[in-house]
């Protein structure tokens, strides 16, 4: 072994080349340092602080009291249940509406895509608060939608659309839709048109081609989009607060309430930690079953 080492050391220019390689990796490390420092300051420190706060009781002593409360009080459980329920329903509705929309976009001639994409993106670029209050106005008892529906005879008496789960879902689906449509559209764009032609050539009707080839090949896009939507929904605040009318209480709202009413940083932090852990659990579970690597990072 030493023989081999000495030989490679003595090989022409080996030492200088190795030194050059070491120098290069040192420079690369130095160049990435600023990014590493920013990530540490912006993400690791605050999250660490959140963690540590959640393990302190009212008097600043180390304790698990904040987590104990979460198990003891039913209301906490209910809040988590609502959060997951609303997030799940929003994601489901987004897929229901977003899939046909993305399919429509992916099938139309390229020159019109920009125009129709604008209808997806325009609301995306409008302030979240503005859109939520706009929905509040539209969904009122005597609002635009109720009046319109009654005039057209779709329903007779005003339906309660705002200040409940209905309103929350309508608003959230509208806001989340671009997060599903954009990755889904990208995935559909990537599908090799030849595979669809091949299916037709092998005897598949257009309907069979859609269900047996197009849909399976677009699934990674569905998974990517729904994960983004679901995870964003878990931490949503404004829309359920405004359109839920106090009937739909999500974790983020509970956190605000605890801070405003009790000024209890420990309890609020504990809720935040549990939400974070739950989110990670969802991602982990998804990666188990759905090969997240290829979905999220474009690996194949």
């Amino acid at each position: 072994m030493s023989d081999q080492n000495s030989r490679s050391d003595n090989a022409l220019g080996a030492k200088q080349l190795r030194a050059a390689e070491r120098k290069e990796s040192a420079i690369l490390l130095a160049l990435t340092m600023p990014a590493i420092i920013v990530v540490a300051l912006v993400i690791i420190v605050p999250v660490g602080w959140l963690f540590s706060l959640s393990f302190l009781d009212g008097s600043g002593q180390l304790s698990l009291v904040n987590y104990q409360k979460m198990i003891e009080y039913k209301s906490y459980m209910r809040v988590f249940k609502t959060t997951f329920n609303v997030s799940f329903l929003t994601t489901f509705l987004c897929i229901l509406i977003g899939y046909p929309l993305a399919y429509f976009l992916s099938q139309m001639p390229r020159k019109y895509v920009g125009l129709f994409m604008l209808t997806v993106l325009l609301p995306f670029w409008t302030s979240l608060l503005v859109r939520t209050y706009a929905w509040l106005v539209m969904l009122q008892r005597n609002g635009l939608i109720n009046n319109f529906a009654i005039d057209l005879g779709i329903w007779d008496t005003p339906v309660k659309l705002a200040h409940n789960l209905n309103g929350t879902l309508i608003g959230m689906v509208h806001i989340m839709l671009p997060f599903l449509v954009l990755p889904l559209y990208a995935a559909m764009q990537r599908i090799d048109r030849n595979t669809l032609q091949a299916a037709a050539n092998l005897g598949a009707t257009p309907v069979q081609t859609f269900w047996q080839v197009f849909v399976p090949l677009s699934l990674p896009g569905v998974v990517a989009g729904s994960l983004i939507v679901f995870v964003l929904c878990l931490g949503f605040y404004v829309t359920p607060a405004v359109l839920g009318g106090g009937k739909v209480i999500m974790v983020s709202m509970q956190i605000t309430a605890i801070l405003e009413d009790q000024f209890n940083w420990g309890a609020a932090s504990a809720l935040g930690v549990v939400l974070l852990v739950a989110t990670f659990a969802v991602l982990l579970l998804a990666s188990r079953f759905l090969k997240l690597d290829s979905v999220m990072f474009g690996r194949h």
Binding site: D192, N194, T195, Q197, A199, A200, L202, G203, A204
Partner: protein, 365 residues
């Protein structure tokens, strides 16, 4: 064998025209492919050969004309009802299915019973030598293996017509040449009418029963590989298939074709072209030793060697003649031949047997 030998169908394309905007991809193309024949559509890129293939498969609708399979007019038939197998240039395998599922796909659509399906897929995979790969995923296969899966998928359901769109273009040279022979053997075994698209003239010559040379959306010539190579119909065919040097000919008093006083051919009966050229294939030329006696059956070319390239099995000699024309010759590099002694700049005489001479009409420019 589990495959029912398909009663292969003839294809007849009549006056097919297809334009994109004001560019004609196909202008009034008529081709007949006999049942069981291996016909190659050969042409440069953009010549319309793929457009023609896609029209036969049903993926683009012609502006006018008719396509028949046997006695059935299929011009308006959607692709999924045409019952033709197709191998795509990109293979177009289904990435979400295993090799087995890919090949079984057309059988599944035809609701073939599980046992029969299994037998057919197994037999097809055996035919393309992929028996051990049935459970693999598509992304675990090499280019050549994917090509074989695409092939198996295209013939497993016993189509009477097989279409191939440059199926070997993504493979490296050695593998491509192996696959050419394999495809030819497969065609012989299945007996299915095959239309094959390529821009590679050597591939076309190797594999085809007949070749249709396509240029600018028109059929330039249809014939056996020998016909096409030995008697090209025009200068496009002569220059696209094989290498050629073109030498302009003169006319004698009776209109006969003459090269430097040597009569080549009698007056052509067709009056369409005014001038004619001699087409000289480089491998048909041979070295003439100095001071050799001229023979009656030969035509001689004198010139100076401007370029000498050693290419292994043969050497390329470029000869500049008195009238500034360049003649390209391929010389065998066998030991004992005089190629080794040649140097650039030296005077050289080459000869060709008069039987190897091709004359073609010049195109009106």
């Amino acid at each position: 064998m589990v495959f029912d030998r398909p009663a292969s169908l003839s294809i007849s394309v009549t006056e097919l025209t297809k334009s994109y905007g004001n560019v004609f991809a196909l202008s009034s193309v008529s081709i007949d492919v006999k049942a069981g024949e291996f016909l190659t559509l050969l042409g440069p890129s953009g010549s319309g050969k793929t457009t023609l293939l896609m029209a036969i498969a049903g993926f683009n609708r012609p502006d006018s004309g008719r396509i028949c399979f046997g006695d059935t007019d299929v011009t308006l038939m959607p692709p999924h009802k045409r019952e033709v197998g197709m191998v795509f240039q990109s293979y177009a395998l289904f990435p979400h299915m295993s090799v087995f599922e890919n090949v079984a796909f057309p059988l599944k659509l035809r609701k073939i019973a599980a046992q029969e399906k299994y037998e057919k897929v197994t037999e097809a995979l055996k035919t393309v030598q992929l028996s051990d790969f049935a459970e693999r995923h598509i992304d675990q296969l090499s280019g050549g293996q994917r090509q074989r899966v695409a092939l198996a998928r295209a013939f497993v359901f016993g189509p009477k017509i097989l279409l191939m769109d440059e199926p070997l273009s993504a493979l490296d040279k050695k593998l491509r040449e192996e696959m050419q022979i394999e495809l030819k053997q497969l065609h012989r075994k299945l007996g299915v009418t095959t239309v094959y698209v390529t821009h590679d003239q050597r591939e076309a010559l190797t594999m085809s029963d007949r070749i249709a040379v396509i240029n600018d959306g028109e059929v330039a010539q249809v014939g056996t590989p020998r016909d096409i190579y030995n008697t090209p119909a025009n200068s496009f065919v002569a220059s696209f298939i094989g290498e050629s040097s073109f030498i302009p000919l003169e006319r004698d008093a009776k209109g006969g074709l003459v090269y430097r006083g040597t009569k080549i051919a009698a007056a052509p009966t067709s009056q369409s072209a005014k001038t004619y050229s001699l087409v000289v294939r480089p491998e048909r030329l041979s070295l003439v030793p100095p001071k050799a006696k001229p023979l009656a059956g030969k035509l001689y070319f004198d010139g100076i060697i401007t370029e000498l390239v050693y290419q292994g099995e043969n050497a390329l000699v470029m000869l500049k003649m008195a009238d500034n024309l360049t003649l390209t010759a391929r010389m065998n590099t066998r030991a004992g031949d005089d190629v080794d002694s040649l140097v650039e700049g030296q005077q050289l005489t080459l000869s060709i047997d008069k039987n190897d001479i091709i004359t073609i009409p010049d195109e009106a420019a």
